[in-house]
Amino acid sequence: MKKLINAIDDVVKEQLEGMAAAHPELRINYDPKYVVRADAPVKGKVALVSGGGSGHEPMHGGFVGVGMLDGACPGEVFTSPTPDQMYECAKAVDGGAGVLFLVKNYTGDVLNFETATELAHGDGIQVQSILVDDDAAVKDSLYTAGRRGVGTTVLIEKIVGAAAEDGYNLQQCADLARKVNQYGRSFGMALTSCTVPAAGKPTFDLGDDEFEFGIGIHGEPGRERYKMKTADEITEMVALAIIDDGAYTRTVREWDNDKGEWFEKTLTDDPFQAGDEVIAFVNSMGGTPVSELYAVYRKLAQVCEAKGLKIVRNLVGPYITSLEMQGFSITLLKADDEILKYWDAPVKTPGLRWGA
């Protein structure tokens, strides 16, 4: 393992220290670990908090700032953060209008955020929690932990962040987040594995002529393994896995802030349809250079056109990564006026910035 790190136990802490040094517009707490806007809490604004294992940078800490997240809780590398982080972070950002937890659907994230939700509620904080589960590589929710939260997370944080900045209340933010999640689908592939510092060796072995298809973002192996193909062939496989994906139904838990209890909600995501306008997001898993992402985008644009999807916005780059893994993911998000309005709104974070 060759990495730009010092002691393995200090990896996340020292990366946060570097981030703090580079970004005085952020405030970083180390025990427990969380990142918030330096001007937090913003009075009267709904506060957005996300979090998850480290190793996906710039997500989530790099998305803290005006027009996006108020707080982020980084766990150890690829390990979900703990409830005390989320709870302390929620207290630090709550400006009186409540806190929305954006939770990627991994068992660890879900269980820890559930505990944190209960703690924050106990403290009198208005809190809601929306699950991101957009990974079309996971087919069913009956025999699995359900679709993982992947690329759409970035788009939700941007869009709902702008809406919160624009004055949406907690319920409106939660409704928008749920909608964006239901409108977005992702699919990822890997050319190489990646190495968790504490593990010291790659999570999986992949032949020099193979790729993994349908990976998540934690260096876990995918659903299938194929012999290497061209960029066009791979992109088409990934794009069609998203575009041709059928309706997806599952039951999620949301928090009833009035009753102080969880309730279940059954949601169905509709498939894409010819004529849909979409935001297309081509993401690097970390080690793939942006030049290769453009080769992917080229083919994606062709496939979308053939399928009657109209790409109206795009994002190309490393935004939700798996350490140094080579590979990419595609996210397509059906766009309506509300979504486009808040996508275009200014954002000023270390990881995503425009209009400000």
């Binding site: 590398v77 409830p83 660890g108 505990t115 932990a145 999570t203």
Partner: protein
């Protein structure tokens, strides 16, 4: 003989030791069907527990277990953090104020812990999780105690059931946790959480020095 507070403290120390010894093994098990961190997570958590132990060793068993649970909750992370955290917090609540435990107490301790795991993680049998080791162990303990076994013998039976439950996860297709994303590729691998659960019960057995 009743289980003493000292034995419970020894239990937690022995868990820490055995997790440390098996850190790489647990992480390796988490590689093919997970994200290669279970040993790292558990080791981080129990190292913290060991640090905290001296400050609560003089209280009661309930407090010791609750502190263990809260420490795991705020240091392990991942799926196993809230699950084992809840396990020990619930076990602690059930043992509130106790300075020693009867065989029935021990059953209640473990049963309460497993109830906590079920409420948080909602596993079902054969989902290929820690529950597949924990539930058979608790049931075996109950049955042995009902049959008049000594505590030591009953725990021995429970550990054997946990080992069997752990081994039985191998042919299963996972339906909970990260491993479930692999579909059929999860078949043929032993569940890391079931493995650590067995180790935790084995450590319990090894701590019951005074039990006949």
């Amino acid at each position: 003989m009743a289980i003493t507070k000292a034995e419970i403290v020894t239990w937690l120390e022995k868990i820490t030791a055995v997790i440390q010894e098996n850190k790489d093994y647990l992480t390796q098990l988490d590689s093919p069907i997970g994200d290669a961190d279970h040993g790292i997570n558990m080791s981080r958590g129990f190292t913290k527990v060991l640090e905290k132990l001296p400050s609560v060793a003089d209280t009661d068993i309930g407090t010791i277990l609750k502190t263990t649970g809260m420490t795991l909750m705020s240091s392990v992370g991942g799926a196993s953090g809230p699950l084992y955290g809840t396990f020990f917090m619930r076990a602690g609540t059930a043992m509130a104020a106790k300075q020693e435990l009867s065989g029935d107490d021990l059953y209640t301790l473990l049963q309460s812990g497993v109830d906590g795991v079920v409420q948080r993680g909602r596993p079902q049998l054969q989902d290929k999780t820690m529950y597949d080791a924990l539930l058979p162990a608790v049931l075996a303990l109950r049955a042995a105690l009902d049959n008049g076994s000594s505590i030591h013998a009953a725990v021995e039976t429970a550990v054997a059931a946990a080992a069997k439950g752990r081994d039985d996860t191998i042919p299963l297709q996972a339906r909970k946790g990260r491993a479930s994303y692999l579909g059929e590729r999860s078949i043929g691998h032993q569940d890391p959480g079931a493995t650590s659960s067995h180790l935790i019960l084995q450590a319990l057995l090894d701590s019951l020095e005074n039990q006949g």
